[in-house]
């Protein structure tokens, strides 16, 4: 293999999803998804395993299917920034990344809450900036539902620009270092932020000085061409979905590097961390058995019927999950009958056709089709095999690391930290101690984009 980056190391994050069918709740070892102890334990394990970051998703409306609250999956989770602030108080190194929507927040408020997390954690905050054009979510918010699809990245772009202006309003060292100083903060060291854009009209005096890492690290998760360009213009890290197939991941990474060059940034300016799942066992037979166990726990009969029902646009819960796919064609609803889940904009009749062909070719039941078409299994193997594979991914430039979603909480990270991390360390492909204290430092990122554009330099921002 070609080692484009022979010394590259694997970066790990943990993505605590909270709401999904991929976290197995039916096992006796599965704990609560909401009690604070679950979070304390899992972040403690991640920090013991020298992970870069702990991620939380965001929920703004409970999912529904066919007009009813979806009752099959784990649901219910904490507010991300409030929870990460609590976790900041009991950790000292790991990064804390909050998924936060640009559609149903305002920059003056959200920039302040994110920077607050960054200051209290002494430079460990990250922001996974997401967008939504889902009017249904808006029913919980003052602004209501509507935001045109084409406006959501425009709003996100202006949102981040405004947030950065707020984060950059204070000069470094603006606050006095002695109680004998004339003022608590130097009077002219804080700039007023006045920004008028098509989406925002913000005028404020920021209450937030800079953190040790400058300001929160910006993550981006969208995969469309617009999303990728948005990342190339704004992001420090991409939380991609290309974490299963090597060639696909490499193609994605090359595409991002091209977009970065086009945007005038160095091609290693963004770190790519795909979401993934890792299943480990001692030998091939055990690996296979464990994979099956994980899959069965994730794709129960009711869950498979629900997933297939999303495509068919109807309630299939009275069907036999181990029987065939429905013989009738999907209902093509004018708007998605499912709220808060994706169908990737594809025509359901087309999907049904593909799935029927797959079922026929491989002789699959409805449930098996759901598994085959939905599961993104990530990696499975012995710790040594998986360590080899992850090392290859990183050293050949397909990714910079992985965001691991444990299939069980809170114990799902134990094997990764106890078995896989030592194997990676033996290969020289994983840190043996934290060498930095900030999230920006763990990821090896340059100083924040705005600091570079204005030509200012600040040696502390990178460290």
């Amino acid at each position: 293999m070609t080692l484009h980056r022979p010394d590259a190391q694997v970066h790990f994050g943990v993505f605590f999803q909270g709401v999904n069918h991929t976290t197995i709740w039916s096992d006796p070892a599965s704990g609560s998804q909401i009690d604070f102890e679950t979070f304390r334990r899992i972040i403690g394990t991640a920090e013991r395993g020298l992970f870069d970051a702990f991620f939380l998703g965001e929920g703004l409306r409970l999912r529904e299917q066919e007009g009813k609250i979806l009752d099959l999956d784990i649901a219910g989770r904490p507010d991300a920034i409030a929870q990460l602030s609590a976790l900041a108080g009991i950790t000292s190194n790991i990064g804390l990344v909050a998924t936060q929507n640009t559609t149903y927040n305002e920059p003056g408020d959200l920039a302040r809450r994110l920077a607050g997390l960054d200051i209290l954690s002494d430079g460990r905050a990250g922001w996974n900036a997401v967008t939504t054009d889902n009017a249904w979510t808006g029913e919980n918010f003052r602004r209501g539902g509507f935001l045109d699809h084409e406006l959501r990245y425009e709003r996100a772009d202006q949102f981040i620009r405004t947030a950065r202006a707020i984060w950059d309003a204070w000069a470094d060292d603006a606050i006095a270092t002695s109680r004998d100083s004339e003022f608590w903060a130097e009077k002219d060291a804080v700039q007023r932020v006045s920004l008028s854009t098509s989406q925002f009209d913000v005028d404020l005096d920021s209450t937030l000085p800079r953190s040790r890492q400058g300001h929160p690290v910006i993550f981006q998760a969208g995969d469309s061409p617009t999303g990728r360009d948005f990342a190339a213009a704004n992001a420090d890290v991409i939380f991609s979905r290309h974490g299963t197939d090597f060639d696909e991941a490499l193609t994605f990474a090359n595409d991002i590097r091209a977009r970065l060059r086009a945007a005038g940034r160095p091609e290693d300016d963004i770190k790519i961390l795909p979401g993934t799942q890792i299943v480990l066992a001692e030998n091939a037979a055990e690996v296979e058995e464990k994979e099956r166990w994980v899959r069965d726990g994730q794709f129960t009969g009711p869950t498979a019927l629900s997933l297939v029902g999303l495509v068919w646009g109807k309630d299939l819960s009275d069907r036999d999950p181990d029987g065939p796919l429905p013989s009738e064609d999907p209902v093509v609803a004018p708007i998605s009958s499912t709220r808060g889940a994706f169908r990737d904009g594809k025509d359901p009749v087309e999907i049904a056709k593909e799935w029927r062909a797959l079922a026929e070719a491989k002789n699959l039941s409805l449930r098996e089709v759901a598994i085959e078409t939905t599961v993104r299994s990530g990696f499975a193997g012995t710790p040594g095999q998986v360590a080899d594979e992850l090392t290859k991914w990183v050293r050949e430039g397909a990714t910079d690391g992985f965001n691991i979603s444990p299939y069980i909480v809170p114990g799902g990270l134990d094997e990764i930290v106890d078995w896989l991390v030592p194997e990676l360390q033996e290969r020289g492909a994983y840190r043996t101690e934290y060498t930095e204290t900030t999230l920006r430092g763990h990821l090896g990122l340059r100083e924040p984009l705005t600091r570079r554009k204005t030509g200012e330099t600040d040696s502390s921002a990178a460290g």
């Binding site: 609250i69 219910g76 409030a82 997390l117 200051i119 209290l120 029913e139 903060a185 005028d203």
Partner: protein, 344 residues
């Protein structure tokens, strides 16, 4: 009423705008998590039942112009404390009620049932500009946003019944959807559908503080003078400056005022010896259910409070130390409320 609750306001370095000059650390340290933890731990160890954290999206009218969001601060100390109630101030005039409800419900989880909330009307036009929202300034409109925000937060906290998570392996159902409820709030300036994203918080309903005008919606009324109608829990707010070994209370105030003159406070003030404050609080306990003390300089005054004020009050039974493992509600003598949506 046997319970007399002791609370302390812990924003910044204290109530005086120049308080930072008498803090125990440099200004550049004052926003750090370490200093925050130190202050809250001192209040918890002293025996306070709750700590409050004032806030605004725009700089305070104090020498200190920086401030971390109050929910962040309360959350940051949630897992490193064990008995003290944690009560952020959150404005209701422009914020999203759905977000507020989720954020403080989360605080209740991370503190294991010690969360509270002081919702406030925001009069400052600078706040509207910071939010980028049209100014709300008519008293009736401020009242409406306050009332509607509290209503929505409370409805959302109840929108999951306590046993909504069923984990029924046989049917494959994690939730019982009949125990989840749309709140369907329709107000003049916003509507909220629900249900909440955060399951019902440990206390069922967090402890909500308000003014006399909010009485029918809150658990505790914060009063600035003794004329307040007594009905439900009412706590007196009190500015406190104590004598210290190195300077008397009035010398301390004089020194601070020589830098920045404190604006006149609408609260009652106590300036003097610890023993005098003990007497005042014992007397206050006859007519009020608690106090919220505003120390002039947190670092200096909390030391005197911990050494000379709380011990005699706790010893004589005027006040009680909060009980480890119990919720903030129960430390105030409040019961865990029934869920409004639960079928009888």
């Amino acid at each position: 009423m046997s319970i007399f609750a002791l609370g302390i306001e812990l924003d910044g370095e204290g109530g005086h705008p120049a308080a930072w000059r008498h803090a125990h650390h440099a200004p550049s340290e004052s926003l750090t998590g370490r200093v925050l933890q130190h202050k809250v731990a001192a209040a918890e160890n002293a025996g306070f039942t709750f700590a409050t954290f004032d806030d605004s999206i725009v700089p305070a009218t104090s020498d200190i112009t920086a401030r971390v969001d109050a929910i962040n601060r309360a959350s940051f100390v949630a897992a490193t404390t064990s008995t003290i109630g944690l009560v952020p101030v959150v404005g209701t005039t422009y914020a999203e009620p759905f977000h507020i409800s989720s954020q403080i419900a989360t605080l209740d989880y991370s503190s294991r049932g010690r969360g509270g909330w002081i919702p406030t009307r925001v009069h400052d036009p600078a706040v509207a500009r910071a939010w980028g929202r049209p100014l709300i300034s008519e008293p009736a409109d401020l009242d409406r946003e306050q009332r509607d925000s509290i209503t929505v937060a409370r409805d959302l906290w109840d929108s999951w019944e306590d046993d909504a998570v069923v984990r029924d392996y046989a049917s494959g159902r994690f939730l019982d959807r009949d125990k989840l409820h749309y709140v369907d709030f329709q107000g003049e300036s916003f509507s909220v559908k629900g249900p909440a994203i955060v399951p019902r918080p440990p206390q069922g309903q967090l402890v909500v503080f308000g003014t006399e005008a909010d009485r029918d919606q809150v658990d505790v009324v914060l009063a600035q003078n003794a004329d307040t109608t007594r009905q439900g829990l009412t706590f007196l707010e009190l500015d406190v400056t104590l004598d210290t070994p190195s300077a008397s209370a009035s010398e301390r105030l004089e020194s601070l005022n020589s830098y920045t003159r404190a604006p006149s406070s609408s609260r009652r003030e106590y300036t003097g010896s610890a023993a005098g404050l003990v007497d005042l609080l014992a007397e206050t306990a006859e007519t009020f259910d608690g106090v919220r003390l505003f120390p002039t300089v947190i670092d200096a005054d909390i030391r005197e409070l911990a050494r000379y004020v709380l011990p005699p009050l706790l010893k004589s039974g005027v006040a009680h130390r909060p009980v480890p493992g119990s919720t903030f509600r129960s430390n105030l003598g409040l019961t865990r409320p029934a869920n409004r949506y639960e079928r009888v």
